[in-house]
């Protein structure tokens, strides 16, 4: 295995060195990367999208469908983790846990599987959190929330945007869950609304896309007239909020599932 691995690495390194040697010189403002599609974004991006942050303009407006599929990917990750058999990965049901007592074995699983599941005990997650940590988290929580909201809202102008806000919101849920205890943290986001919240990213995109089609004749189009500025802004914000809320809930639930809840 070791020899094979080394050989593979050497072959890969050799091939890549040969290949990247043929790339056009980097940093050259006249290179193909900077004179084709990117150049147009830099020239007309602000005028066409109203977003000062060109990365946000690419993500949301020019190449919105990529971002739609990206949101679908993290949704898929959540579904994938919840799809694993219960007993090990927690929270298999994404609604209220059903009173499911018998878990029939699959055609593929063996009797050993059942045994293994019985032996596995839920991990001890009730680690006491020190007072200092508890205090700090409680103290910082509002500030973290504001920071995340700012990242979201200012994403048009400064670096930041939906996903970054989602990651920070998600981290906040998780920290609060550790400090407040599960029961209280669970109440922050009631179980009943979770299926709706985790679906928000793809749904926001689909709805805004449809609206865009109605207005401009192109799916995921944004009205470009100056008079429709407010509407366009509202559509962009709707998508960003969808990404942030959906992403945050999904990240928090991934955490819970891996933790064994």
């Amino acid at each position: 295995m070791r020899g094979l691995g080394l050989a593979l690495v050497l072959v890969a390194a050799f091939t890549i060195v040969l290949g990247i040697g043929g790339l056009p010189p980097r940093l050259d403002p006249e290179g193909p990367v900077h004179t084709h599609v990117g150049a147009r974004y830099a020239e007309r991006g602000l005028e066409e999208t109203g977003l000062r942050n060109l990365v946000a303009a690419v993500l949301l407006v020019y190449r919105g469908f990529d971002t739609f599929l990206e949101v679908v990917v993290i949704f898929t990750a959540l579904v994938a983790v919840l799809a694993l058999p219960s007993g090990v990965i927690g929270g298999t049901s994404w609604r209220e846990p059903d009173a499911e007592t018998s878990e029939p074995d699959a055609e593929t699983s063996e009797s050993g599987d059942r045994r293994a599941a019985a032996v596995v005990d839920r991990p001890d997650t009730g680690v006491p959190v020190s007072n200092v940590v508890g205090f700090v988290v409680r103290l910082l929580a509002p500030f973290i929330a504001v920071f995340a909201a700012a990242l979201l809202y200012r994403g048009h102008v400064t670096p930041g945007g939906g996903f970054q806000a989602a990651a920070i919101f998600g981290a906040l849920f998780i920290a609060l869950g550790l400090v407040l205890g599960r029961a209280k943290a669970d109440r922050l986001v009631p179980r009943g609304v979770r299926p709706y919240l985790q679906a928000m990213g793809p749904l926001a995109f689909a709805l805004v896309g449809l609206l865009g089609w109605r207005l401009t004749g192109a799916f995921l189009g944004y009205p470009s007239e100056a008079s429709a500025y407010v509407l366009r802004e509202a559509m962009v914000v709707a998508v960003e909020v969808g990404i942030a809320v959906g992403g945050a809930v999904i990240l928090a639930r991934l955490f819970q599932a891996l933790e064994g809840r």
């Binding site: 890549i16 040969l18 290949g19 990247i20 040697g21 043929g22 790339l23 056009p24 193909p32 990367v33 900077h34 599609v37 020019y62 190449r63 919105g64 469908f65 739609f68 599929l69 990206e70 679908v72 990917v73 949704f75 898929t76 990750a77 579904v79 994938a80 983790v81 919840l82 799809a83 694993l84 058999p85 219960s86 090990v88 298999t92 049901s93 994404w94 609604r95 059903d98 878990e103 029939p104 699959a106 055609e107 593929t108 699983s109 050993g112 599987d113 293994a116 299926p195 709706y196 679906a199 793809p202 689909a206 896309g209 089609w213 401009t216 004749g217 192109a218 799916f219 995921l220 944004y222």
Partner: protein, 496 residues
């Protein structure tokens, strides 16, 4: 009023994906509703795909700039004659979903049914997106939706064994995805564009460079890995055999075709790149032939029927790649149609195998002897599928292989035609072994003797699929004629 056709193409992709997020909400407390909802969505998607295929036949390829940004400044969706495969794809899901209704009982606890259906819809949406997108990066993200849902579906019903198979699949799949991303990044660095047609044009204009070769090679290896082309097939048999049968049908029939569709895209890209296409074709010929022979060889020694079917997928991927590598019109037409026909046949076989395993509880030839006596209808469907995949006329498998063989002789590479026929004989051997055990051997297991035909919701899809295997054989010239203009155009762009 906006042009409805401009909504239909993105709608084809968005509808199943958005519906997947709604599955848990719709299911509510009754998980069975998730199944009906999914079935409804799949039927709607199939109808949309059918309308689009009809439209393409009338007016030619439909190009939809998403967001109104014309290519190369935005993402372009293209629905052309090759995209007709999306119709078959969604139609096959329309058989798999009702089959799963009853199959899931006793396989998966009810609390996870909606997860299963959501994964199926995500997989379908990703496959459709992958098939219609004309943008390299979009291709990558759509592929990730497909891959991630596939990994999960392998692990969904089993415990440790399935998780291990799924993880092997995941690691291989991730390497392949990473290579795709690397290739796309290289192509962007070379051309400054992500649109497939634009990139192809700009690559053709630019002087040949090792970076182009690296990018195309990276993409090609990645898609061969996704297609499980020999010798990159190690992950496939376990994943496909251990998954629940409807999932095996999706994976073996449809998901591996991601690699094939990707390969066709790379061939389109490399058409004018100055890459030595003859060399690429030679590699594809050799690997394809090796895959046919090795797949058949390994299948002969299997006792587990699902493993047998998984290895047979390896052989069939070999046929498709061989046809593409021959680069002769007949052969490529045969390959393109075989992408769909193999999907149809493999779904039939896996669903039949799934019914048998579901009803008897056994999965090896030894245990399943004599099963045809108690399950004659299912076994008959299985037999039709088996004859199709071997390529006995007048079934769906025959016409594609016939075209590929014709292409081999026509282009003066008859040796591959003989390899193909030889491979078919080999494949014949193990399917005969299977049919012999099912039909002509006395049962050895009491459980098999006590087994009965499955519920109607499982049998009906199987009958229709088996009938389609025959119909697509008899009327096989219709799909062949449909893709012919597209293939001729593709080959012309490659200087053939």
């Amino acid at each position: 009023m906006s042009d409805p056709w401009s909504l239909l193409v993105p709608g084809l992709v968005v509808l199943p994906l958005a519906a997947a997020t709604l599955v848990p909400i719709v299911a509510g407390r009754d998980p069975r509703r998730a199944g009906s909802f999914t079935f409804g969505v799949v039927l709607l998607v199939t109808a949309m795909a059918a309308a689009l295929v009809w439209r393409v036949g009338e007016v030619g390829a439909i190009s939809v700039p998403l967001g109104g940004w014309a290519a190369p400044y935005g993402i372009e969706f293209r629905f052309d004659r090759f995209s007709a495969w999306t119709l078959g794809l969604s139609a096959l899901f329309a058989f798999i979903v009702p089959f799963a209704w009853r199959y899931l009982e006793g396989t998966l606890p009810r609390s996870r049914w909606h997860v299963f259906y959501a994964l199926l819809l995500l997989n379908l949406g990703g496959l459709l997106g992958f098939s219609v997108t004309g943008d390299l990066f979009n291709l990558f993200v759509a592929m990730e939706v497909v891959s991630l849902s596939s990994y999960a579906m392998v692990a969904v019903a089993g415990r440790g064994v399935a998780a291990w198979a799924a993880l092997k699949y995941l690691l291989m799949g991730s390497v392949s995805s990473l290579l795709v991303l690397f290739g796309v990044g290289l192509l962007f660095a070379l051309t400054g564009s992500l649109n497939l047609i634009d990139v192809a044009a700009r690559v053709a204009e630019a002087p040949a460079s090792p970076a182009t070769t690296l990018a195309l090679a990276s993409l090609m290896v990645a898609f061969m890995l996704k297609a499980a082309l020999f010798p990159l097939h190690a992950w496939l048999p376990d994943a496909h055999a251990i998954a629940p049968s409807p999932v095996s049908a999706v994976l073996s029939g449809l998901v591996v075709k991601v690699g094939i569709v990707g390969l066709v895209r790379v061939l389109q890209l490399s058409a004018g790149s100055g890459t030595d296409l003859a060399l690429v074709n030679q590699v594809m010929l050799v690997l394809g032939t090796a895959a046919i022979v090795m797949g058949a060889f390994m299948a002969v020694f299997q006792d587990d029927i699902k493993l047998m079917l998984a290895f047979s997928t390896l052989s069939n991927i070999g046929y498709i790649v061989l046809g593409l590598g021959l680069a002769a019109p007949f052969a490529v037409i045969g390959s393109v149609v075989h992408v769909l026909n193999h999907a149809l046949i493999k779904v039939t076989l896996f669903l039949a195998a799934g019914s048998i395993i579901h009803q008897t509880g056994f999965r090896t030839l030894r245990d399943l002897r004599g099963v045809a006596r108690v399950m004659p209808q299912t076994s008959a469907a299985m037999a039709i599928g088996a004859l199709s995949i071997v390529g006995i006329p007048p079934t769906a498998g025959f016409i594609c292989k016939w075209y590929i063989a014709l292409g081999a002789f026509e282009s003066g590479q008859g040796v591959y035609g003989f390899a193909l026929v030889f491979g078919a004989l080999f494949i014949f051997v193990y399917y005969v072994r299977m049919l012999n055990a099912f039909f002509f051997r006395p049962a050895v297991r009491a459980e098999v003797q006590a087994a009965r035909e499955p519920a109607w919701s499982m049998r009906a899809p199987l009958f229709v699929l088996a009938a389609l295997c025959l119909l697509l054989g008899i009327f096989g010239s219709i799909p062949l004629a449909f893709v012919e203009p597209a293939v001729v155009e593709l080959l012309a762009s490659m200087g053939r």
